[in-house]
Amino acid sequence: MAPSEKNITYGLKFQARAMVPFHSEGAQSRWLVGTNALRDENEIQVLEFEPEKDTIRMAEVHSHPQEVWQIAPCPSNPCLLMTVHNEEGLHTASLWHMPPENGALEQQAELKGSSSVRTVAWHQTQPDAALSVEGAKLVHWRLGKGTAEVASECANGGSEELTGGSWDPHNADRFCTTGGTSVQVWDLRSGQQSGAITEAHGMAVREVDFAKQQDNLIVTAGDDCKLRLKGDGGALAELGGHSHWVWQARFNLQHDSLILSASSDALVNLWYLPSCGAPAASKAQAAATTPVKRPVGPGAAAGKDGKVQSYGDHEDSVYSVAWSSADPWTFASLSYDGRVAVHRVPSQVKYKILI
């Protein structure tokens, strides 16, 4: 760990699983965090990180009756958000209006499906379109003022339970879901599954995330403790530095060569993959994954793909990591015990990317 780096943490009252970057103005990085307590009154907090003071403060708090499993803020309207919440074992998604001041969230509509909703996602540009993943199908929603109607459904006829998904930021007609050990690719125009990566992981796939800059580059995380990168030319890299399930993997919003992963071994890993940074970079290099040791590997310093750093300031499983939308070099991680930690990308890596 860099000597100058302080331990910047913040504690929530309850357990928590969900954290996402939140729209912010100015230099402050903001995140939305939702608590996950089954029998208590839950809340969604807006956390703000002030880089000058190196502190996290709670900017707003909004009560949310049920426990929060996922938060999806509307990309265009900071007052709207969707959550996936749990009541009596059934996961449902709702559309909420977030008041500008502290106060309860106002429920606008419920995206009531036929079974447990696994994840929800907003359309990149249309604030009235959203997608939810439930059972073995995708449901397309048309959101109105206080209403949510099913616009269409996409199913492939299979019965495999889908567990999560992600919308391609480059192509609004493409959606990737995870299910079992595979990743499914959907064409939303036709409502059909257009492809699949079978055996994407040795065990169940937990997460899929699209690179924000490059087209056709995804990272998947799985229960086999590995991250896998896939691009046009098939598998690009396999990163194995965790000792338990990997719950989330996130591309940096500006630089595709930085990836964060969160695992239930209580570690957050920051990966630097120069070969994925620029499309022109040789893919041959990407095939070479470096062995990962627990200490900070000099391999990362040599400009090869590999782990930059492991952040060990959580004591419980880390279920969520989120980059800052204000500063590409800042990120936060959230562990089940409600601890939020904020870190910055080490400056040597930062300079390697910038210079």
Partner: protein, 854 residues
């Protein structure tokens, strides 16, 4: 006014005649006129009865009447207006006309210009025509001249053909060709050569003239045939070569080409010898099973002379003697003859030719010796390189015999012969530096032999490894059908012991064989130190290459440990390069995605063994075998065998492999837990009665891991069979040597407190590692559920059941971590339950004592 009108009219008629209009149209011709007609004027004109009064432009328009009527009927102011209007019209018309005239004037001028140009052009054409005429005349003249000249040539040609006719009649005079051919037919080569030699000057002088030409051609053809015959003879009868060359000289062959032919003959003979020898080498290789027989067996002439006898292993020394005798004798003989026949100017040619063949000879010798080295290495290591064809005696794997010398003495003998023989050529052809080449052969073969020996060892280890997998399956199958009394050893144990044996005894015997070379001073001459370094380097290479092979076999997918900084492979000095001969045929099992967990543990154990035992042993043996030698090649260079480095890498690999093993087993536990969680029905209202089946599965998987670990890790327990061992045994065996380690682990956990720490190669550490992963997965899957009271209580029962059982697998500080994790399962269950009501202690005890549901 009238004046103006008249002018207008004139202009109008002029324009209309120009534009071909027959008189202005009577009405509507000009809108202006209509406009100009006031109503009174129109009525007046109507009164006037002239229908042509409609416009000023009509021919019938009467100016005076129009003026009169105008003056009469119009008021003064209107009249004045009329005046102004008309004068402006007139002005307009004037300017129109002016413009028209100007335009037409322009056209006229340009027309004039054109006509003038045409005229001048026509004038110029006249002179051109005259020129053309002249040219045509000159062409005619020239063609006539050509014609007459050609006529002259035609006459000459006719004359010449007459001469030719004459000469053909003289043809019969020359009978030289026939004589030549007769002599050739009779085999009187000498006569023919003489005859040709006599006639040659004449033919040379007049051969290009007239009738001689044909004679010369025929004579030359005969001479060519003669030359060919002579060359053939020279080729096949070495002893007549000198005579033949004399005759060829008479025939006028240039010396250079004679030399070339002579050398070509020599090369061909040498090539024959080498070709034959090559076939023998191939045959030997096939017999030694180094290579598969490709196609039909090459016919080897004089097989027994080469030391090839069916049913017996080929004799290397006989081969070497035979090859040397044939080739080197040929070489010396030819060289001597060449020196007799030609002067020194041709020596360059000789050298060129001999060098080529000599290089081939050296290469062949190297191949033969290297093949022999490989064959003896393979034989000594007991490797079946290629399965013998069906029907042949399929002997079992001969175990490596420590007393065997890995073919070192045979090789040394052969090398001795070869290098001595080669050295004999030194005086004759010093330019080829045969002595150096001989040394080169020795060095190359030695390097190869060392490499081959170690590569064979490596191959043997890998063979064992690859055999383990199917054996493991068989063993699993056999375990399901218990056979009383059949207390066969576990394949993992067998493999481990086999590998250990190879590493210890194998390296020993190879080193002893190598020692043999050092005892023969002539072999190594000046490079003894280099040799020792070489042996050490290859030994290190063996360790490192085994390491990387293990890595590949383990399928952990992480690039070899070579990529770590500061670990440049020390194999750069290895002479062998890739040992294709010893490469395993790719087996389908080797490419399996997930390797057997047991294999990982075996590999880890082998690494650990190599690090702790084999390495020390090898170092000692090295020191004993080559005391005070090696490392002398340069003080700045690192020693060839860096034990510390090898040990470090072995240790790292061992760590990684143990980690992989733990992960592989942990994955099984995770999978079992996940499957159970997926199958759980949140609405299940049944009261808990016994631990869930998943608990049984967890314990089963752990027991399997414990069996494997017990087999390989604890030395005292290694020989025991895997079944029917009780808890008491386990605890007694576990008590001994691990306390120091446990303290370390405890400290590790106190410092960091995470669930996942480094795993040591001890039973306790490995099992605890597996348990931790399994229980952590349990926690995670519970956290994903929403439980009712029954679900919570069921989990409580499960944990209560597991706790004492797991204590067997994780003791001391490890146990504390596992216990903590079990607490966490319950805590998670409480958090995730809608009704956090726990069971009482005694009910728990009763329920947990029941066997897990099936």
């Amino acid at each position: 006014m009238a004046n103006v009108d008249e002018k207008t009219r004139r202009v109008r008629s002029l324009l209309s005649s120009y534009y071909g209009v027959e008189g202005a149209p009577s009405q509507g011709g000009s809108p202006r006129s209509e406009q100009s007609d006031t109503p009174s004027a129109r009525s007046t004109s109507r009164l006037g009865g002239g229908r042509a009064l409609a416009g000023l432009d009509s021919a019938a328009f009467d100016v005076d009447r129009y003026l009169q009527s105008l003056l009469r009927t119009t008021r003064l102011d209107a009249l004045l207006a009329k005046h102004t209007e008309m004068s402006s019209e007139i002005k307009n018309l004037d300017s129109d006309m002016q413009m028209l005239v100007y335009e037409n004037y322009n056209r006229f001028i340009s027309a004039t210009d054109t006509i003038r140009t045409m005229k001048s052009n026509v004038d110029g054409m006249d002179s051109s025509m005259q020129e053309l005429e002249k040219v045509t005349e000159s062409v005619a003249e020239r063609s006539e001249a050509v014609n007459s000249k050609l006529q002259l040539r035609r006459d000459q040609i006719e004359e010449l053909s007459q001469v030719k006719n004459l000469l053909t009649k003289l043809q019969a005079v020359f009978d030289l060709p026939r004589r030549l051919s007769t002599a050739l037919d009779q085999g009187a080569l000498e006569i023919a050569a003489d005859a040709y030699a006599d006639a040659a000057p004449l033919l040379k002088r007049y051969g290009h003239k007239g009738a001689f030409r044909k004679v010369a051609v025929e004579a030359n053809a005969c001479a060519k045939e003669l030359t060919g015959t002579l060359k053939q003879r020279m080729l096949h009868h070495k002893e007549e070569a000198a005579e033949c060359i004399q005759m060829l000289r008479k025939l006028g062959e240039p010396v250079e080409s004679l030399q070339e032919d002579f050398l070509a003959c020599m090369k061909m003979r040498m090539a024959n010898i080498l070709g034959e020898a090559e076939a023998v080498v191939t045959a030997m290789a096939v017999q030694n099973r180094l290579r598969r027989q490709s196609g039909a067996a090459a016919e080897v002439a004089h097989a027994d002379a080469w030391g090839l006898e069916p049913g017996k292993p080929p004799s290397l020394s006989r081969f070497v003697v035979e090859l040397d005798q044939r080739f080197l004798t040929e070489l010396t003989h030819t060289t001597v003859l060449f020196n007799e026949l030609f002067d020194q100017s041709g020596r360059r040619q000789l050298l060129k030719a001999t060098r080529e063949k000599f290089t081939e000879y050296i290469a062949l010798m190297k191949t033969a010796l290297k093949d022999a080295a490989e064959a003896s290495a393979a034989h000594s290591a007991g490797i079946q390189l290629h399965p013998p064809p069906p029907g042949a005696n399929a002997e079992d794997h001969p175990t490596p015999d420590p007393s065997e010398d890995w073919g070192a003495s045979v090789l040394a003998e052969a090398l001795y012969t070869a290098s001595n023989d080669v050295a004999r050529v030194q005086s004759l052809l010093p330019e080829l530096s045969p002595a150096d080449r001989g040394t080169e052969v020795v060095e190359a073969v030695l390097r190869h032999h060392i490499g081959a020996c170690f590569a064979a060892l490596e191959r043997r280890v890998l063979d064992l490894l690859h055999e383990v997998l199917p054996q493991l399956h068989n063993h699993e199958a056999a375990k399901k059908k218990p056979m009383p009394g059949a207390q066969q050893a576990h394949p993992l144990i067998e493999a481990f012991e086999g590998i250990a044996q190879i590493l210890m005894a194998g390296t020993d015997s190879v080193l002893h064989a190598m020692e043999l070379y050092t005892k023969r001073a002539w072999v190594l001459r000046a490079w003894q130190d280099v040799f020792v370094d070489l042996v050490q380097g290859q030994l290190q290479q063996l360790f490192l290459s085994l390491l990387s092979r293990f890595w590949t076999v383990s399928g952990l997918g992480v690039e070899g440990l070579q990529s770590q900084p500061g670990l440049a492979p020390a194999a750069a000095t290895s002479a062998g390069g890739a040992w294709d001969v010893f490469a395993r045929p790719s087996s389908p099992v080797g490419n399996a995605k997930q390797p057997e967990a047991g294999l990982l543990l075996l590999l880890a154990r082998v690494c650990s063994f190599m690090e702790s035992t084999a390495l020390v042993h090898v170092m000692e043996t090295l020191a004993a075998t080559f005391p005070g030698q090696g490392g002398g090649s340069g003080s700045g260079q690192p020693p060839a065998f860096v034990a510390g480095e090898v040990a470090r890498r072995l240790h790292m690999a061992m760590r990684a492999l143990v980690g992989g093993y733990v992960e592989a087993h942990g994955r099984r536990l995770s999978a079992a837990v996940r499957a159970a969680a997926a199958a759980a029905d949140p609405a299940d209202q049944r009261e808990p009665r016994a631990p869930q089946p998943v608990c049984g599965k967890l314990l089963q998987a752990l027991a399997a891991a414990r069996d494997e670990a017990a087999l390989l890790i604890d030395d005292s327990a290694a020989a025991q069979s895997s079944s029917g061992r009780g808890e008491e045994w386990y605890s007694s065996a576990a008590a001994g040597s691990r306390e120091g380690m446990e303290r370390n682990v405890a400290r590790l956990f106190q410092e960091r407190g995470p669930i996942f720490g480094e795993v040591e190669l001890t039973q306790a550490s490995v099992l605890a590692g597996i348990t931790r992963i399994g229980i952590k997965s349990f926690v995670e899957s519970v956290r994903l559920q929403t439980l009712n009271r029954q679900g919570l209580q069921q989990l409580q029962v499960d944990v209560h059941f597991l706790r004492p059982q797991l204590r067997r697998y994780a003791q001391g500080p490890e146990g504390a971590v596992v216990s903590h994790l079990l607490d966490e399962v319950v805590a998670a269950a409480v958090e995730r339950s809608l009704e956090p009501i726990l069971l009482d202690g005694h009910i728990l005890d009763r329920l947990a004592s029941a066997p897990p549901a099936q």
